[in-house]
Assembly symmetry: C2
Amino acid sequence: MAQPNHDPITATADAGDVLGAYLRAQATAFLRGLRLHEESGADAAEGNDAARSLRGAARRISGSLATFRVVTESSWADGLRTELVWLSSTLADEHAYAARLTRLMDALHRLSGSPELPAPRGSAGSAGAAGALTVGSARAGALLERQLTLARTRAHSATLQALGSSRFHAVADAVAVLASEVPLDSVAARGRVTDVLVPLATVAETRLSAAVSALPPVDAAHPYNADHDGPWHEVRRLLRVHRYAREALGEDVSRPAAAGEALDRHRDAAEAATASAAAARTPRIAPATAYALGVLHADQRHEVEAARLDFHHIWLPEPAVTPR
Amino acid sequence: MAQPNHDPITATADAGDVLGAYLRAQATAFLRGLRLHEESGADAAEGNDAARSLRGAARRISGSLATFRVVTESSWADGLRTELVWLSSTLADEHAYAARLTRLMDALHRLSGSPELPAPRGSAGSAGAAGALTVGSARAGALLERQLTLARTRAHSATLQALGSSRFHAVADAVAVLASEVPLDSVAARGRVTDVLVPLATVAETRLSAAVSALPPVDAAHPYNADHDGPWHEVRRLLRVHRYAREALGEDVSRPAAAGEALDRHRDAAEAATASAAAARTPRIAPATAYALGVLHADQRHEVEAARLDFHHIWLPEPAVTPR
C-alpha cells in the first residue's frame, strides 16, 4: 500500500519540490509493487497485495497529475495519466470479481439463517438449522460461483496479457523515469505551495462538493432502483482525487478515507446486486434458485442504501435524511 | 370506531362506576357496529367500517375484562372474554387477507421501478419504463392475488358462518346485557379508582415493560430471520391491553396508539413476507416469478426491521440501536 505522506509541509516551499517528492514516492511504490507482483509467482495472497499497491500508486499518480496538471509538463502528464487509468482499471477487474463473489457468498450465508428461504417441498422447510444453506441458496451460490469465477479467470488472463504488453512496458518505463525526475512546468513549479498547489487542490474539492450537492436524495422508498447509482460512483471518483491531492499536500486524510470506504461499499454492493440480477436471467434455473437470487438482490440494494447513509453521516455536517 | 373516553376521571370516583361506564360505552359501540354490519348488505366499504368498529369494541371489552377482572364478576368476565377473543380473531381474518394483498401489490408496484427486476430475455430488460410491472413482478402479483383472494373468500365464508352461529348470538346477547348493566364484584367496585383501577392498570403496564425489555435486540444483520417475530407480536398484544386500560381511566393514549401502529405495520409486513415466501413454494412457477417473490420477501422483511426501529423511537427514551 502506498504510504500517505503526513510530514508537515511548509506553505512557502516550492510547489515543484512538494509535488515532485510526492510523485517520486508514488512512482517508487509503483515499481516496488510491480517487482513484488513479478516475484509473487503462484502465491495468490502476495500477488493480490502487490497488485493492490500497484493500483493504489497508479491511482495516486494519475489523480495528482489531473489535479496539479499545470505544475507539470501538461502534455506528458496527460499521456501518462491516460495510460495509468487504463492500467489500474485493467488490474482492478480481477480483484473486483473475486471480492464480489466473496460478498455474495457471505450474504447468502447470512441470509440462509432465514427459515423462510425455500426448502425442498415436503421437508421441514420452516425449521432448517441456522447457518445451513437452503437448497435455493446453495444453488444460487453455486451459480454465482460459476459465473463470477469464469469472469475472474477471464480478467486474470486480461491482466497477464496487459502486463506482458508493450503498452504496459512503456508505462513502466515512464514511471521509472518519474521515480528519479518529475517533468515540471518551470514557471509554476517555482511558485509557493500556498499560491500554486493549495488553490488547485481547492478546485478538486469544489468539484467534489458540487457533485455531492447534486446527488439525488437518499430515497429509502426506492432502494431497488439502480438509476441513481451513476452520480454516486462519480462522487466516489472525485473523492479519491480530492483525497490524493490533500495527501500530496501532507494533510490528514482520515475523513475522506472513511467516506471513501463507505462509497467503496456502495459500489461493491451495487455491482453485487447487478450480478445477482444477471444470474437470475440464466435460462432454465430452478424457481428456488431464482427466489434466493431475488432475496440476495434486494439485500444488496439495501446495503447500497445503508452505504449512502454512512457516507452522509461521515461527510455531511447534517444527515441528509432521518433514518426511520 | 369506538371513541376513546378523554373526559377527566376523578381519582376518588368509585371504580365500579368508571369501569362500568367504559364497558357500557364499548358494548353500545359493539351493538351499533353489529347493526351497521347487518345493514351494510353488499356495500363492502360500509361493511368493512362496521366490522372494524365491531372488532375494536370487542377487543376493548375483552382487554378491560382481563385487566380489571377482579372488579367484575370474574367467572362471567372470563367466559365473555374467551368468546370475544374468538369473535374478534374470526372477524380479523378477512380484513387481514385483503390488507396483505394490498400491501404486497403496493410493494410490487414500488419495486417494479427497478430496471433490474427480470424482464423477458432479448427485450430491453434494463430500460423498462418506471412503474411498468416487469413480467416477473406481474406474474408474482397475479399469483399472490389468486392465493390471497382465495384465502379471503374462505375467511369471508367463515365470518358469515360465525355471525349466523348460535355461539355468536350468545355473545351478542351477553354484550346487550353489558350495555345496560355490568356484573361487578360488589366489594372491589366500591373502592376508589386510584385504589383499585390504577394499580390494576399498572400491572398491565408492568407486564408490557417486561415483554419490551425481553425483546431480542434489533439486529440489522439478520433482517430475514423471522425467528424473532413472536416476542414482537406478544408486545403488540400487551400494548393494546395497556392502551385500553389507560383509555378506561380516561387518559391520553396517543403515544401507545402511535407505538401500536408501528407494531401493526410490523405484524403486517411479517405476514406479507411469509405470504411471499409461501407463494414462492408454489410448484412449477417461472424463475422470474420466484425472483420477484424473493425481492418482495426481502423488501417486507426490511419493512419489519424499519417498524421495529419505529417502535423503539416512539416507545423507548433511547433508541435501541444506532441506525447505520
